[in-house]
Symmetry: C2
Subunit: 879 residues, 2 copies
């Protein structure tokens, strides 16, 4: 039979999945012999059972709760609900992962009209007893019964006014009794029944409330943001009350063993005498810093310092602790690994190694790779931010902070930038035509599109701050203004600020400060590089991106898209000439104009990369993306091209596709227009030959996109090889190069054994592969996913993470098949997932050679790869 | 070492893959001791080697050819190129599968200026010798050297005129010599060199020409149409010449052992005395029927009858034979299983069983299931067709013949049909809005779209003739006319005729005759049903289709689409009200209007199906398909709906998707609007309850489309089950029903183990599954595939057949995973491939329960399933 309830003495820190973080640590501290009030934990499995049973606590679980309660009563020699020697408890939630924003704590549970009198008699302190009772009534009503907290606060304020009291502490016992009476009346007014007097009923209702709180809106959103599965459930901790509000020898506080903001090794925290935990939070009185406790109660302070030290050594990590002092006696109510800033995380990890407490590998495992992002981008100056007025919230699409004047199209943004203005580009959604405008902007704000929209993906690639999908705003692109929810209008040229790490949009300019990478950052990266086996490359299309990526530790380029090169203003016209050309000759003539420019692009990138591997992907997007769609632009372009608007419109219509994502793009372009692949190959090979003459040793990797069959791969590869060999022969030099393919169509994965006969490397394009495997276009997914979140089918965008269950199976098949044909085939990933720690761990498990991600994700990937190597041990590929 | 050349005596009929059909049968006849002129076969492997070697005959193969030639020379005691006793040969191609439209035969090879004199001397017949020589020069020039045949015919005509001859036979030896001289001059004029005098050179050039002919345009197109792989290659047969033109005791002919048009058991064929094979074809003289040979040469006739009988018994099938009589001696030049009409195929198969020559299973294997199609649709009256004028050719998208007056939109077609006109609907392409118009038409003609376009798929479903992708026509829908290539204009109301089996469009009306299913058809179907293990269901959405399908033997409905039910004129308005509704209540109100109509639809189908299983799929297409897209229609509808045009346009814009195929459709609609699933479930269950009260025993199968994750399946299933159980409880009856899912998204296949925890059956939707697995939208594939054909990456549309290599792997994974979770899970296929024999064999091998196809493919599927059972033996599912 499943055991659903554990006394603290029965558990330990390893039972976190079952007991939740708080419960497991209470058990662990109990086992360490620390002063922990007794209690027990109702397991996370009881919570999932509660939901399986249709939101009911089954009789067997209820029985087990009360049996454990009885056992605890026997041990401490008190009876729950006994007025003579009251046994009161706190009820707290505690999930596997810490989840602030879930439910509040309920204190003093077990009090009723009788017990409160007993408590008054026993302590000789009626004021304390009724203070505790009124707190309990308010908390229970709010948390369990969902009666607004403010209503109780209002009653309290009224009483204070009536008796002329300023602080709560000014209220005497009689006043507290009056408050209790009015609170009970308020309860009855709302619920139609009296406040529950049966402590056992109070307890079960409180437990249910904790279980329910697992699925409140805040918790769901928090889980979605933090990838916490909805089926984990929460545990509930029932613990004997101790009182920090029993007079001047009592108190309560919280403390970290080190400074969570900086990582400095020094006890950090605060406490309040004669108070319960909620008073510390409420800020009615100003708490004292933890070292002042040494003056107030030196012995208790000394004991606490020893416990803190013991806990840190025991857990081998910085601890975040809660404690209460009841009439001079110290009780520990919680300990856990403390949350910390990115900077603190690095310092603590490095220091713990220096102190000999942990080794380097353990240090690496203590840092959340995603946190590093915060260190790599500008942030608002904290002081300046306080004055900022938030006007809207969108998705945190690309991290960093930025201020600028708003412009509503790429052209205006570019012009303003040329005038020396700082620009925020505001668009309903962006398209490849906006690249130039995005590039000159400080940040990008869009009204539509998710975390994987064009704006988000490109901004992340550029390392530029972006808030996407900000649907609260009414953006009028053509009229050049937007409205916020309250109707305030922002016109072209007005200042706003964006926080791409939170998705917040602010009115006005807010000062930002640049990222600076401390010595701890470099140390951790060095350690990570020592242990990881996965190489980390970057997705970079420009010299600038490549430069940034190399600085951040990129060991090569895993994906150099070439389409952006065609959008550059100095060549898009030639490319448009190519698109409208009727003959191969005309197409070649147009392409020849682009050749030298593209060659220079590649040469620039090769030089930055100094011989590190560079994978260049041939042109991928459908051609219609290169042509305008508005009537006036069409007319203008038609004139420039020397054809009629009708002709150009006809060409655009011909290029229109019902499902462009599954249409004429990728290598299908090279099959239709082999001259594009030819010119691109020539540009790549000529660039490589040129830079090698300057002493580099570049061996380009040419990548063919969107392959679904080995025959098309072979066809395009033949064009590349023929052209490359010709160029190499012309130059009379030696040059090595490789030809490989993206695996981004399910069939390529399923026939990878055949594909590998031609491909010298595979690069998994998990963006497209995920969309096709799911049959879900990310451009169209927004509305669909909203509905799916609403009814809880999905808790977060299933395509944002590498879906190991579905897409991962295809990757495994492709890896196995590919290796069966070509045992040493190089495997990599260049989709967005290449920068996601969980996905990196999966790639490590498949024995990939490298992951490739946007420049600013390179450090994250380096750390994640190290963690995967430490945690995962050997990989499939090495088996 | 690979053996590339086989003497006839070394081969047999089983070596068809290596020797080609003709070569294998010549070997077999040689082995049977029949009078076959000696010779040898160069294998198909030599052909593929020829291409692998860059279109060259490798030295080792050439050596082997001449070595075998020498061996044959020794055996027959003649020397190739010896003027004294000439040894002449014919050179003929012969692929594994018979491929008319490949290369022509070359006769009399080995003749040159010297040898012809020898032949004249030896036969004492200079006219014969020079006649043979001039024929050889013309054939060699045409077939090997690609000099136009007409040029030689022109020279011949000129000589005939000069000497006053009417027939070729009127030319004497001198005239023939003159012809030879002029032919040689013509050759030199074109090639710049003399006609090759070296017989060995002639031979090798001829062999190369045969190899080359494998990849001529006609051959490629023929292969694409008949699914013959391009890498098979052709064999070449070199055979000693025998002469039917050696005077009045010589002749040549062709004959079938039975009548290939009717199947009647009676020798059928014709012959010509003093002629070579080409004369029979050329039709210069009228041949005699084969039984007249009994009068001309009774002994030879008797011998031929015996050989024919022997061959038919030996091959146990109707034979198609070629023979030559040289100076009274009979030679067999070819035998093969004769091509026959569908009707003949059935009769021959049934008769052969009756004659005890084969058993029923063998009989079933002798019929090409695809041929049956011809028996199920109307055809043009042969006499009427002769007068028909072909005006254009499109794709044979849906078989049958139809005549009617052209209309250019669904509305006009409907009105005309109501006036009693016969209508041909002509559209650029069709969309779901055209269903009604298609339904009232005799046939459909479209300017765009392939064999899997909307028009093609729906027409096949309706069993209606359709010619699609007829790009030669300039169709002006709004101006209501079309132009053919020569500029002729067809206006609304003009008559045209369509042959959906060939893709031909004719001007004017042509009389058609209805299909009649003979007794042999019923017999064969009965035999097929005895042996097959796969059930055959149909895809049918209407009472009419269901009725047709049942008549054709459908054992249930595997796919009843419900979207067409929403397009019906009497309900589309209510459905549009639902789409524009802002609240769930308003949506429900609109849907309630459709409920009774849809219930009647289902009841009608259930009644026709009389308790046979019926799988009904919930609404699948994106909602935008139900709204108009033209400004005037939008305005009209907005008014009817009581909203502004701008509002309606806004709704339409909101519904716009970049990739609708991977967008908001399928079960995603049911997640967003559960009330749609509810109402549909209610309609289905109420209909079932109603018909069961009338004594039927319907257990509906409700199918959820486009599932990618078990959680969404579970969500929608819960709606269905909740609703169904409620309706059943309301009615107070017992009703069984099942809930299953389409497997049409790759991820559904990859996670089929999870999906099967909820799904009671899987139905593979291979249309979408194929498109997503290939990353290729069939609506956009036309232009792409044209390019792929041109450069020979693909030989035919790779998505038209079930792609066992890629999509098939997903199906295998899904079948295995599904059975692992639910061992008895019912597996079926309802994509277009469900009617394709090769795909049916694959489904049989996976142990599927059933295939489902359009009504008119049901007989094909029954036969194909029987063939799969006979050929495949056990299935994976039964292992």
């Amino acid at each position: 039979m499943t055991k659903y309830v554990y006394q603290f003495a029965e558990g330990n820190a390893k039972m976190k999945n079952l007991l939740g973080g708080k419960g497991a640590n209470l058990a662990e501290m109990t086992g360490l012999g620390l002063p922990v009030p007794r209690g027990f934990t109702i397991t996370t499995e009881a919570c999932t059972r509660y939901y399986d049973d249709g939101e009911k606590i089954a009789q067997d679980i209820e029985d087990e709760i009360f049996a454990t309660l009885a056992k605890t009563e026997a041990e401490i020699g008190k009876q729950f609900g006994d007025p003579k020697d009251p046994y009161l408890v706190s009820v707290r939630s505690g999930a596997r992962a810490s989840m602030p924003g879930m439910m509040d704590t309920i204190l003093n549970l077990g009090l009723n009209d009788e017990v409160v009198e007993g408590l008054a008699a026993l302590t000789g302190n009626p004021r304390f007893a009724y203070d505790s009772y009124r707190r309990f009534i308010a908390m229970f009503s709010d948390v369990v019964m969902e009666i607004e907290k403010a209503k109780f606060e209002h009653v309290l304020d009224t009483v204070k006014e009536e008796v002329g009291a300023k602080l709560d502490t000014d209220l005497d016992a009689d006043a507290m009794k009056a408050v209790v009476a009015r609170f009970k009346a308020l309860y009855k007014q709302h619920k139609g029944v009296d406040f529950p007097q049966n402590p056992r009923e109070q307890l079960i209702e409180a437990v249910k409330a904790v279980f329910r709180s697992w699925n409140n809106d805040r918790a769901i959103i928090y889980r979605r943001m933090n990838d916490i599965p909805g089926d984990w459930g929460t545990a509930v901790n029932i613990q004997e009350m101790v009182y920090g509000n029993m007079g001047e020898t009592s108190g309560t506080g919280v403390a970290f063993t080190r400074n969570p903001a900086t990582g400095e090794k020094k006890l950090y925290g605060e406490f309040l005498m004669n108070a319960q935990g909620e008073d510390v939070v409420a800020g009615i009185r100003t708490p004292q810093t933890i070292d002042q406790l040494n003056e107030v109660m030196p012995e208790v302070y000394q004991q606490f310092v020893e416990i803190a030290d013991k806990l840190e050594r025991h857990y081998r990590d910085m601890q975040d602790m809660e404690f209460t002092i009841e009439r001079g006696k110290l009780f520990m109510l919680q300990t856990r690994n403390g949350k910390r800033t990115a900077a603190a995380a690095l310092k603590v990890a490095v220091d713990l190694v220096a102190e000999g407490m942990i080794d380097r590998k353990e240090a690496l495992l203590k840092i959340d790779p995603k946190q590093l992002d915060a260190l790599l981008h500008p942030t608002f100056e904290p002081a300046a931010l306080k004055a900022g007025k938030s006007i809207a919230k969108g998705l945190p699409a690309s991290p960093g902070a930025a201020s600028g004047q708003v412009y509503f199209n790429a052209e205006d943004a570019t012009t303003a930038s040329e005038r020396g203005e700082k620009v925020i580009l505001v668009r309903l959604e962006t398209s490849p035509e906006d690249i130039q405008g995005m590039n000159v902007s400080q940040g990008i704000l869009t009204g539509r599109g998710g975390m994987t929209s064009h704006a988000a993906v490109v901004a992340r690639g550029m390392g530029k701050c972006c808030v996407s999908g900000c649907s609260e705003l009414s953006i009028r692109e053509s009229e050049k203004y937007f409205l916020v929810a309250d109707g305030t209008r922002f016109n072209e040229g007005d200042w706003i600020s964006l926080d791409g790490s939170t998705g917040t949009v602010y009115a006005g300019a807010i000062k930002t400060e640049e990222a600076s990478l401390s010595g701890d950052f470099a140390t951790i990266m060095e350690w990570a590089d020592e242990v990881r086996t996965l190489k980390v490359r970057t997705n970079a299309d420009t010299v600038k991106d490549s430069q940034v990526a190399v600085q951040l530790g990129a060991e090569g380029i895993g994906l150099c898209r070439t389409e952006h090169m065609f959008f550059e203003p100095d060549r898009i016209f030639a490319f448009r000439q190519m698109i409208v050309a009727k003959t191969e000759d005309a197409r070649r003539t147009a392409l020849e104009k682009i050749l030298p420019m593209q060659r220079d692009d590649f040469a620039g990138i090769f030089k930055i990369m100094k011989g590190k591997p560079v994978t260049i992907r041939l042109l991928d997007p459908p051609l219609h993306e290169f042509l305008p769609h508005e009537a006036d632009e069409i007319a203008e372009l038609a004139q420039a091209l020397g054809i009629s608007s009708e002709q150009l419109q006809g060409i655009i219509n011909d290029l229109h596709e019902l499902n462009p994502m599954m249409g004429h793009r990728g290598c299908r372009l090279a099959v239709t227009y082999p001259e594009i692949a030819e010119i691109q190959t020539r540009a790549i090979i000529e660039a490589a030959i040129a830079v090698n003459k300057e002493g580099l040793n570049v061996a380009p990797e040419i990548m063919i996109p969107l392959v679904c069959d080995v025959k098309e791969l072979k066809f395009v590869k033949n064009i590349i090889v023929r052209t490359a060999d010709l160029v190499i022969a012309e130059a009379g030099v030696d040059l090595k190069y490789q030809v490989g393919t993206m695996i981004e169509i399910p069939r390529a994965a399923l026939t990878a054994d055949e594909i590998a006969t031609e491909a010298e490397f595979f690069s998994f394009g998990t963006n497209d592969l995920t969309q096709m495997t799911y049959g879900l276009s990310r451009d169209d997914a927004g509305k669909i996913l909203d509905a799916y979140y609403r009814v809880k089918i999905f808790e977060s965008d299933p395509t944002a993470r590498l879906d190991t269950n579905g897409v991962g199976k295809l990757m495994k098949i492709a890896s196995d098949y590919g290796r069966a044909t070509r045992p040493n085939i190089k495997l990599g990933i260049c989709g967005e997932h290449g920068g996601d720690p969980a996905s990196i761990a999966f790639c490590h498990s498949l024995g990939f050679s490298y992951v490739s991600c946007s420049p600013f994700r390179v450090p994250i990937a380096r750390l994640a790869a190290a963690q995967a190597a430490i945690a995962g041990g050997d990989t499939l590929g090495q088996k």
